[in-house]
C-alpha cells in the first residue's frame, strides 16, 4: 500500500505506461447516475471516453486507483480504494492510491464536504471493482479453456480450484482488457467482505510520521516568492491609505502591493514577509457597521421579538395549542462565532503566466477555486490547472476558495509564482466563521404531559437558515411553527463542520430535556414516544428515518446503562445530521465543585462501516471536537475586530480535557450514509443534560465555561423525589 500525491492525470498515464499498461477501467465516480465501467486501452481513449476516474492494473499486479476527492483527515484516500479493492478481491498490499488533480471533465464531485463522499460513490466504486474482477476471471477462463463459473478470484489471483490453476491479476490484466465490460454486475454479499468493515490503517501514515511534505504549505518551487496579506483588522472597514516605504526597504522584500482591501507583502522568505508586514502603515476608514458582540446580543433579542421572521415549517394551529396548554416551557440558547482553525492555516500557490494559470494547494473545492480564478482574471477555465495537496484539516473553511483566488490575483499583479501564507492570526481574524445564533424554543404540554405545541425561532447573523425545520421533533408534534430571522453583518460566515446543527442540536436536545422534565417523563422515554408518534401518526412530512433514530437511542441506552448507574450523572442526546444518526450518553462527575466529563457513549448508525478504524476516528474526533467547542470555543468582537487572534486566547480542547469515548456501530447493512460530521452535533446536548442531572442547572450558552450556570458554585440538584423515581423507570 502506498500513496502518491500531486500526480496529474497525464503523469498517471505515464506511470501506467511505465509499469505496463494492463487493464485500465474507466468508471464514473460521481456523475448523477452510476454508469457501467468501460475498458480504456490508452490515454487518448481514456481522455476521450467521458468517464472520469480510472482503476488500472499493471502487469506487475499493482492496482492503481486515482482518488479524486481532497483528503483532509476524513480518510477518503483509504476508504475509497478499500471499496474498490473489496469487490476486486485485490491484494491490499498491492494497491496504490493516487490523488487526482482537478479534472471537471472526468470527475463530477471533487468536493470534500457534507459527509457525502462515500454515500455518493459507494455503488460506483463497487461497480468498478466488481466489473474488473469479472473481466479478470473471464480472461483466465479463456486462457485455461475452462468454464468461468468454475473460477474464483482471491487476493489478486484468479483460481480454478479443481485443476489447481492460478494466475495473478498482473498476468491477466492485458487479456482482461479485451473482454467486453459486463452490463450487469453482481456485488459481493456483505458476509463475504474481507476489507470493508475491518480496521485498515491510513494509507498515508508512513509519509505522515516521517514528515514528508504532503501539505499545501509544504509546497516549494525554485524561484517562487512568498507573501502575506494584511487585511482590514475590523470587519466593516476598508483601506484608506498605505505607507509601505519602510517595509519595502527591508531585507528580502520584493514588493508591497495593494489590491481590493489587501495589502500584500511579497518577498523571498516567509519570515521576511511576516516581519516586514509589521512595518507597513495602513489607515482604514469605515465601510459599514463595525459591530461588537454586545451589539449582537441586542440584535438577537430584537430579531426574536420582532416580526421579520421567515416561516420555515408550520403544522396545525400553534396559537390555540399554546392557549390550551396546561404548561408552557420557554427557553433560549445562544452560541458565538467560531473560527475553523484547521491546524494548517490557509495558503495557496499560484503562478499566473501569459499562457495559463497553475494553482496548487489545500482546498475542499478545487472546482470553485478554478471557476472563481477564471472569472476574476478573465482566463478560460481550461487554461487553469489545480493540483490538490493534502489538507491539514478543513472543517468547512476550505470550502471557500477566497485564499486561492487571492493568491492567483496576487500572482497576476506581481507576475511571478507566489505562495500566499496566512499566519495563524490571519486565519483566525480573516473571517468565514461559524455564524452566531440564538434560538427561542417554546413547548406546550397538555395535562398528561404530551407535547401538543412546539415553536422554534432562530435568529442568526449571516446564518442563512439557522433552523433545520424538517428535523426532529417535526413530524411528531400536532401544532408546530419553525421560523427564522436574520441579521446581515460585515462579519463573514461559512459552513463549519456540521453547519447549523453543530449548535442547533445542542439547543434542541437540551430543550427536549427541559420539556421531558416538565412533563415528568424520562428524557429518553419522552423522545421515544414522540418518535413513535412520527412513525404511526406523522404530522406533515417526516424527513428522517424514525427507526434508525429509535435504533441508536435504544442502543446507547442499553450500552451506557441508562439510569442504571447510581451516583452517575447521565445526559442523553440524539441527532440526525447529513444522512446518519448518532445518540450519545454523557457521564459527568463533579470534582472539587467543577464538572468533569468522564465518558461519552455513542451509538452510531452510518449504515455500512467501510473502515472501522477511520470510522472510530471520525466518531472519537467528532465528539471531542464537539465537546471542545461547546466548552471553550468563542470568537467575540469589539468594534468589528475579532478579540481572539491565536491559540493563546482562542481555546481549543487539549489532551487532559478529553473524556473516555465508547463507540458502538449499528450493524444493519444499509448503504453507507457518511460520518465526517454526524458524531459532532449530539455531544453538546449530552454534556449539557448530564450537567443538569448533576447540578439541576441548565447550560444555555456556549462556550459553557462562560455560562453563568456553569460558573455558579456547585449545589445539589433539586428535584422532587417523586419525579426522580418516576424517571428511573422508563
Amino acid at each position: 500500500m502506498s500513496t502518491a500525491t500531486k500526480t496529474s492525470r497525464r503523469e498517471f498515464f505515464k506511470l501506467g505506461s511505465l509499469t505496463g499498461m494492463g487493464l485500465i477501467l474507466g468508471f464514473d465516480w460521481f456523475s448523477a447516475e452510476a454508469k457501467t465501467p468501460v475498458v480504456i486501452q490508452g490515454a487518448a481513449q481514456a481522455a476521450a471516453s467521458g468517464f472520469n476516474s480510472y482503476l488500472s492494473i499493471a502487469s506487475d499486479g499493482v492496482v492503481t486507483i486515482l482518488s479524486p476527492n481532497p483528503e483532509l483527515g476524513q480518510n477518503i484516500m483509504t476508504s475509497f480504494p478499500m471499496i474498490v479493492a473489496e469487490e476486486l478481491d485485490a491484494d491490499w498490499t498491492k494497491v496504490k492510491v493516487v490523488q487526482a488533480s482537478l479534472d471537471t471533465k472526468n470527475f463530477d464531485r471533487q468536493v470534500t464536504g457534507g459527509s457525502g463522499a462515500v454515500p455518493h460513490s459507494w455503488k460506483r466504486l463497487r461497480t468498478a471493482g466488481a466489473a474488473a474482477r469479472w473481466m479478470l476471471i473471464q480472461a483466465a477462463a479463456k486462457k485455461w479453456n475452462l468454464p468461468a463459473e468454475e473460477c474464483t478470484a482471491e487476493n489478486g489471483f484468479v483460481i480454478h480450484a479443481k485443476s489447481g490453476n492460478k494466475l495473478g491479476y498482473g498476468e491477466l490484466a492485458e487479456a482482461a482488457a479485451a473482454i467486453p465490460v459486463p452490463t450487469d454486475i453482481k456485488f459481493k454479499d456483505r458476509k463475504d467482505f474481507k476489507l470493508i468493515g475491518k480496521a485498515v490503517r491510513n494509507v498515508a501514515n508512513k509519509d505522515i510520521v516521517r514528515g514528508k511534505g504532503l501539505f499545501g504549505l509544504d509546497f516549494y518551487r525554485e524561484g517562487m516568492l512568498f507573501a502575506v496579506i494584511q487585511r482590514p483588522e475590523a470587519f466593516g472597514t476598508k483601506v484608506k491609505s498605505v505607507d509601505a516605504a519602510a517595509a519595502k526597504a527591508m531585507p528580502g522584500i520584493v514588493d508591497v502591493v495593494t489590491f481590493k482591501n489587501n495589502v500584500a507583502v511579497v518577498g523571498k522568505s516567509t519570515w521576511e514577509v511576516m516581519k516586514a508586514r509589521k512595518a507597513v502603515k495602513i489607515e482604514y476608514e469605515k465601510d459599514g457597521n463595525t459591530e461588537s458582540t454586545a451589539d449582537h446580543n441586542k440584535i438577537f433579542l430584537s430579531l426574536l421579538d420582532g416580526n421579520t421572521a421567515t416561516v420555515r415549517r408550520k403544522e396545525g394551529d400553534v396559537e390555540t395549542a399554546f392557549k390550551n396548554a396546561a404548561k408552557v416551557i420557554r427557553s433560549e440558547y445562544q452560541c458565538p462565532f467560531l473560527s475553523h482553525s484547521p491546524m494548517e492555516p490557509m495558503n495557496f500557490f499560484a503562478h499566473v503566466r501569459p499562457d495559463g494559470v497553475e494553482l496548487i494547494g489545500p482546498t475542499q473545492t478545487p472546482g470553485t477555486a478554478r471557476q472563481a480564478t477564471a472569472k476574476l482574471l478573465n482566463i478560460p477555465e481550461d487554461k487553469i490547472t489545480v493540483e490538490i495537496t493534502r489538507l491539514g484539516g478543513g472543517f468547512g473553511r476550505r470550502l471557500k476558495a477566497d485564499y486561492a483566488v487571492e493568491a492567483a490575483e496576487l500572482s497576476s499583479i506581481i507576475k511571478a509564482p507566489v505562495k500566499l501564507i496566512w499566519s495563524r492570526e490571519d486565519d483566525m481574524t480573516g473571517g468565514s466563521y461559524r455564524p452566531a445564533v440564538r434560538y427561542r424554543f417554546e413547548a406546550a404540554l397538555d395535562k398528561q404531559g404530551n407535547m401538543i405545541g412546539y415553536k422554534l425561532r432562530g435568529a442568526g447573523i449571516n446564518s442563512g437558515n439557522p433552523t433545520r425545520e424538517d428535523n426532529f421533533p417535526s413530524g411528531s408534534v400536532e401544532n408546530l411553527l419553525i421560523d427564522s430571522a436574520e441579521h446581515n453583518s460585515p462579519i463573514t460566515t461559512g459552513a463549519w463542520r456540521a453547519p447549523i446543527t453543530n449548535f442547533l442540536a445542542f439547543a434542541e436536545q437540551s430543550f427536549m430535556d427541559e420539556v421531558a422534565f416538565a412533563a415528568g417523563k424520562d428524557p429518553i422515554q419522552f423522545r421515544l414516544e414522540l418518535l413513535e408518534k412520527a412513525k404511526t401518526a406523522p404530522v406533515g412530512p417526516v424527513r428522517y428515518d424514525v427507526d434508525r433514530m429509535i435504533g441508536v437511542t435504544k442502543l446507547v441506552a442499553e450500552k451506557a446503562g441508562w439510569k442504571k448507574k447510581p451516583g452517575v450523572s447521565q445526559g442523553f442526546s440524539v441527532y440526525f445530521s447529513h444522512r446518519s444518526y448518532v445518540a450519545q450518553i454523557c457521564e459527568l462527575a463533579m470534582t472539587a465543585g467543577k464538572p468533569v466529563v468522564k465518558k461519552i457513549h455513542a451509538a452510531v448508525d452510518c449504515g455500512e462501516v467501510v473502515n472501522l478504524s477511520g470510522a472510530r476516528q471520525q466518531v472519537m474526533g467528532g465528539i471531542t471536537d464537539g465537546m471542545g467547542h461547546a466548552m471553550f470555543g468563542k470568537l467575540s468582537f469589539k468594534d468589528g475586530v475579532p478579540e481572539q487572534k491565536n491559540f493563546n486566547s482562542y481555546r481549543l480542547i487539549r489532551m487532559k480535557e478529553i473524556p473516555q469515548i465508547e463507540t458502538h456501530f449499528v450493524d444493519n447493512g444499509i448503504e453507507p450514509t457518511g460520518l465526517g460530521e454526524p458524531a459532532l452535533p449530539p455531544t453538546g446536548g449530552a454534556i449539557g443534560n448530564a450537567f443538569f442531572a448533576a447540578t439541576g442547572r441548565r447550560l444555555k450558552t456556549q462556550p459553557f465555561v462562560d455560562d453563568e450556570a456553569y460558573k455558579a458554585p456547585a449545589v445539589k440538584k433539586q428535584q422532587p423525589a417523586s419525579t426522580l423515581k418516576k424517571e428511573r423507570k422508563p
Partner: protein, 152 residues
C-alpha cells in the same frame, strides 16, 4: 544576514539568514526540511516541535542565533528508516487524521520517552497537553505513546 552553522539531524548546514529568523522557517524555507510544521508561531500548538540536545523545543520561537552549538533533531532525523518505536506505534494505532500536527506530537512524545521511558498515563497527558490536534486524535496519540513505551 549572517551565516550560521547548524547541526541538524547529524549534518552541518550553513543557512544565510537574519539572526532573528525562527528555526522553524530556516528548516522549512531554507533547508527543505518541511516535516516541522507552522501552526501558531507563538509556542501554543506544538506543531513546530523539534529537539535541541534531546529536549523538545518550539522552533517557531527559537531564533537561529540562539542555537549555537545546539544539536537539532527534526522529524526527518528522528530515525534512519522511519522506524522509531513512536513512528511504528503511530502507524499501528492508526493515529493520523489530517496528519498536520503529528510530526510535532511525535517529537514531543520522543522527548518524553527519552527522559522517562515508562511514563504513566498522567505523565503522558501532561507531556502532550501542549500539542494541539484540531482533528482531536488525542485518544490514539495517548495510546500510541503508551504502546511505544512498552517497546523501548
Amino acid at each position: 544576514m549572517a551565516q550560521f552553522t547548524l547541526s541538524i539531524n547529524g549534518k552541518q548546514y550553513q543557512p544565510d539568514v537574519a539572526e532573528d529568523t525562527p528555526l522553524l522557517w530556516v528548516l522549512r524555507d531554507h533547508l527543505g526540511l518541511v516535516g516541522t510544521k507552522y501552526g501558531c508561531g507563538i509556542a501554543q500548538c506544538g506543531a513546530c516541535t523539534v529537539h535541541m540536545n534531546g529536549s523538545a523545543v518550539r522552533s517557531c520561537l527559537l531564533p537561529v542565533s540562539a542555537i549555537g552549538e545546539g544539536k537539532i533533531t527534526t522529524i526527518e532525523g528522528l530515525s534512519e528508516n522511519g522506524d522509531h518505536p513512536l513512528q511504528l506505534a503511530w502507524d499501528e494505532v492508526d493515529v493520523p487524521q489530517c496528519g498536520y500536527c503529528q510530526a510535532g506530537q511525535i517529537m514531543t512524545a520522543a522527548a518524553l520517552l527519552k527522559k522517562n521511558p515508562k511514563p504513566s498515563m498522567e505523565q503522558i497527558d501532561t507531556a502532550m497537553h501542549g500539542n494541539l490536534c484540531r482533528c482531536c486524535a488525542y485518544h490514539r496519540i495517548r495510546e500510541a505513546v503508551k504502546l511505544a513505551s512498552t517497546k523501548i
